[in-house]
C-alpha cells in the first residue's frame, strides 16, 4: 500500500481467524492503514484483500454495513443524545427504524449505559463515551467489530469493565473482534490471536499461546528480610552450586539449565534451607513486550 511518499504497508500478508485479534505495533507502523483497508476506505496499491468473504475495494458499502467500527478519536457531537447517536448510525447501516430503535437501547444496556442512554454525549465522561462507541459498533448486529484503541484514556477500573464487555461480545454473541492497543498486557489478557506490525511489515503473527508462553527456565522473586539479610544471597549461592545458570536482578533470580520441574524442586530446597521468603515463583514466560522490544525496537528509527 503506497501513500504519496511513504510506503505504509509493505508486502503484508496476514490472515485473521475468528475470535478476538489484537493488532499491535509502534505508532505509524500501519495499524490504522490496515484497518482502513479492511473497511474499504483505502484501496491497496497492489495485492488483494478479502474481509468476511467480500472484497472491500469493490463491495465496500455492503461490507461496511456488516462491520462495527470504533474510531480512535474521542470526538462526538456534544448535544446529541447517546441513544439517538446509536439509533441513527444503526439506521444508516440499513436497519429499519423500529429495529434500530430497540437495538440501540439493547446495545447501550449491554455496555452498562442503560440509565444514561438519554443523556447528551457532551455531558458524558471519557469512559462513558468509549462505551457509547462500542454500543454503536455492535448495535447493527455486525459480524465483525474493529476497535481502534478502545481503552485509550480510561482509568484502570474503567479499562477492566471495557475489556470484560469486549470479551463478552465475542464469547456470548459470537461477534469477531479486531482491536488495536498500545497496552500489551491488555492484549495478552483479552486476545486469542495477535498481529504485530513494524514499519508496515509483519513482525509476528500467531495465537497468543504461541507468541507469549513459557520459554524455559524459572523466575524466583524473594523478599529482603531484616532478620535474615543474607537470605537472597544464600539461595542464589546454593542454586548455582547445583550447577544451574542463575542471573540476579534486584531481588529476582532467573534460573536456567535444567528441566523446569527439577528447577522448581531445587528452588524449594534452596529457599527452605536459607529460610528466605518467596514473593513470586513461576516459569519464565515470554511476553508481548519481549516480542515488541525485539525486532520492533530495531526497526524503530
Amino acid at each position: 500500500m503506497q501513500f504519496s511518499s511513504t510506503r505504509a504497508l509493505d508486502q503484508l500478508d496476514v490472515s485473521i481467524p475468528n475470535g478476538v485479534t489484537g493488532l499491535v505495533g509502534a505508532n505509524g507502523a500501519g495499524k490504522t492503514t490496515l484497518i482502513s483497508l479492511a473497511l474499504g476506505l483505502l484501496k491497496p496499491t497492489n495485492g488483494s484483500i478479502s474481509v468476511l468473504g467480500l472484497d472491500p475495494t469493490s463491495d465496500g458499502p455492503e461490507l461496511r454495513a456488516m462491520i462495527g467500527y470504533g474510531p480512535e478519536r474521542n470526538v462526538f457531537p456534544d448535544d446529541l443524545r447517546a441513544y439517538d447517536f446509536v439509533r441513527h448510525l444503526a439506521e444508516v447501516k440499513g436497519l429499519p427504524r423500529d429495529e434500530a430503535r430497540s437495538r440501540a437501547s439493547d446495545s447501550l444496556y449491554l455496555v452498562g449505559l442503560g440509565e444514561e442512554r438519554f443523556r447528551a454525549l457532551g455531558t458524558m465522561s471519557t469512559g462513558q463515551r468509549q462505551r457509547v462507541k462500542l454500543a454503536q459498533a455492535i448495535a447493527a448486529d455486525p459480524r465483525l467489530i474493529v476497535l481502534d484503541e478502545p481503552t485509550d484514556g480510561l482509568d484502570p477500573v474503567q479499562r477492566d469493565e471495557m475489556l470484560n464487555i469486549i470479551v463478552q461480545v465475542h464469547r456470548d454473541f459470537g461477534i469477531d473482534v479486531m482491536l488495536s492497543s498500545h497496552v500489551l498486557e491488555e492484549v495478552e489478557r483479552v486476545c486469542d490471536h495477535v498481529v504485530a506490525l513494524a514499519e508496515g511489515r509483519l513482525v509476528a503473527q500467531g495465537s497468543m499461546a504461541e507468541l507469549a508462553g513459557a520459554s524455559g527456565g524459572i523466575e524466583l522473586e524473594l523478599v529482603e528480610l531484616p532478620d535474615r539479610p543474607t537470605s537472597i544471597d544464600d539461595v542464589a549461592a546454593s542454586m548455582s552450586a547445583a550447577g544451574v545458570g542463575v542471573r540476579r536482578s534486584g531481588t529476582t533470580l532467573s534460573v536456567v539449565g535444567l528441566p523446569d520441574d527439577d528447577l522448581f524442586d531445587l528452588a524449594a530446597r534452596s529457599v527452605a534451607e536459607a529460610g528466605a521468603r518467596i514473593r513470586t515463583l513461576g516459569q519464565h514466560r515470554r511476553t508481548l513486550d519481549d516480542i515488541f522490544s525485539g525486532p520492533i525496537e530495531q526497526a524503530q528509527p
Binding site: 467500527y69 478519536r73 457531537p77 448535544d79 440499513g94 436497519l95 429499519p96 437495538r103 448486529d141
Partner: protein
C-alpha cells in the same frame, strides 16, 4: 403443587438481525432526514429552533396575508395577479431565503467535520460521494420549505377562493412552473452555500461568507453594469438575482432584466450551481479524515 414445567427464561439480550438491510439508498435517506431535523431544531433544545421559525414565518406571512385578502374582500376588486403573482412573490421573501441558506448548509456540513460524525459516516455504507448526495438532498429539501412552500400556499389559496388559474391543464401547468422555480432556486443556493460551508471549519465564518456573497454580488453587478456601464450581460454574475430572474422566465414574463436572454439567465444559474458542486467535491475529495 408442582409447576406445569413450562417455565422458561427468555434470553432477550442480543438477537441476530436476519432481515433485509436497506443499503446505500436507506443510508442516504436517514442521513438526509437527520440533517433536516438538525437544521429545523427538531428533537433539539428550543434555542436551535429560533432562526428556522423566524425564517419560515417571514416566508409564509405574506402568502397568508395575500390569500386572506383575496378571500375576505368579496367580489373581485383585487385581481389575484395584482395582488401577487408567483414570480413577484419571491421579491417579498428573499431575506428569509438568504437567511435560511446562510443557516442550513453550515449546520449540515460544517458540524459533521468538527464533531467526528463525518469519520463515523464514512465507516458506514456511505462514502464521500453518497454522503454529499445525502447532504445535498437535505439542504435542497430544507430550502424548499421557504422556496416551494409559500407559492404552493398561494396557489391553493387562490384556487379555493376560485381565483386560481382556469381549467385543470392551466392549474397543472402553474403547479409545474411553481415546482420548477422552487427547485431552481433551492439548487443554486444549496450549491453555493454548501461550497462556502466546505471552505471553512467555523460555522460563523461560513454563514458570514454566504451572507456577504449574496449581498455583495448585486452591488458588484450594479457597479459593473451601471457604474462603468459595461455590457449588461455582466449582471449574470449576480447569484442573488439570477435565480429569481429565472423564475420570471419560467412564468414567461420579461422579469427585471429583459435585456438578458432567457438562455443566458438559465446558463448563469447552471454555472453557479455546478460551480458550487465542483468546489464541494474538490474540497471533500482532498479532505484527510482524522479517524
Amino acid at each position: 403443587m408442582s409447576g406445569r414445567g413450562d417455565a422458561q427464561i427468555v434470553e432477550r439480550g442480543f438477537q441476530r438481525y436476519e432481515g433485509r438491510r436497506s443499503g446505500v439508498p436507506g443510508a442516504i435517506r436517514s442521513v438526509s432526514w437527520e440533517s433536516i431535523k438538525a437544521t429545523l431544531g427538531l428533537g433539539r433544545p428550543a434555542r436551535t429552533k429560533i432562526f428556522p421559525v423566524i425564517a419560515v414565518v417571514i416566508a409564509y406571512l405574506p402568502a397568508v396575508v395575500f390569500v386572506g385578502v383575496a378571500v375576505l374582500i368579496p367580489g373581485d376588486i383585487l385581481q389575484p395577479e395584482e395582488v401577487a403573482d408567483y414570480p413577484g412573490y419571491y421579491g417579498f421573501i428573499i431575506l428569509a431565503i438568504v437567511l435560511f441558506a446562510a443557516l442550513v448548509a453550515p449546520e449540515v456540513l460544517v458540524s459533521d467535520r468538527r464533531n467526528g460524525m463525518l469519520a463515523m459516516y464514512l465507516s458506514t455504507p456511505l462514502d464521500r460521494r453518497t454522503y454529499l448526495a445525502a447532504k445535498a438532498v437535505a439542504v435542497i429539501t430544507t430550502l424548499g420549505l421557504v422556496t416551494l412552500g409559500p407559492p404552493l400556499l398561494l396557489l391553493i389559496g387562490y384556487t379555493v377562493e376560485g381565483a386560481g388559474p382556469d381549467g385543470i391543464d392551466g392549474w397543472l401547468w402553474t403547479l409545474v412552473r411553481i415546482v420548477l422555480s422552487g427547485m431552481a432556486i433551492s439548487a443554486a443556493l444549496a450549491a453555493v452555500s454548501m461550497a462556502a460551508s466546505s471552505l471553512t471549519d467555523r460555522r460563523a465564518f461560513a454563514a458570514i461568507g454566504i451572507v456577504l456573497l449574496v449581498l455583495a454580488s448585486p452591488i458588484l453587478a450594479a457597479a459593473l453594469v451601471e457604474g462603468a456601464d459595461l455590457s449588461p450581460s455582466l449582471r449574470l454574475i449576480d447569484i442573488s438575482t439570477m435565480p429569481f430572474e429565472l423564475v420570471f422566465r419560467i412564468f414567461d414574463q420579461p422579469g427585471n432584466f429583459p435585456e438578458l436572454s432567457t438562455w443566458s439567465v438559465l446558463a448563469s444559474n447552471i454555472v453557479w450551481t455546478l460551480g458550487g458542486v465542483v468546489v464541494v467535491w474538490w474540497r471533500y475529495s482532498k479532505l484527510v479524515i482524522a479517524r
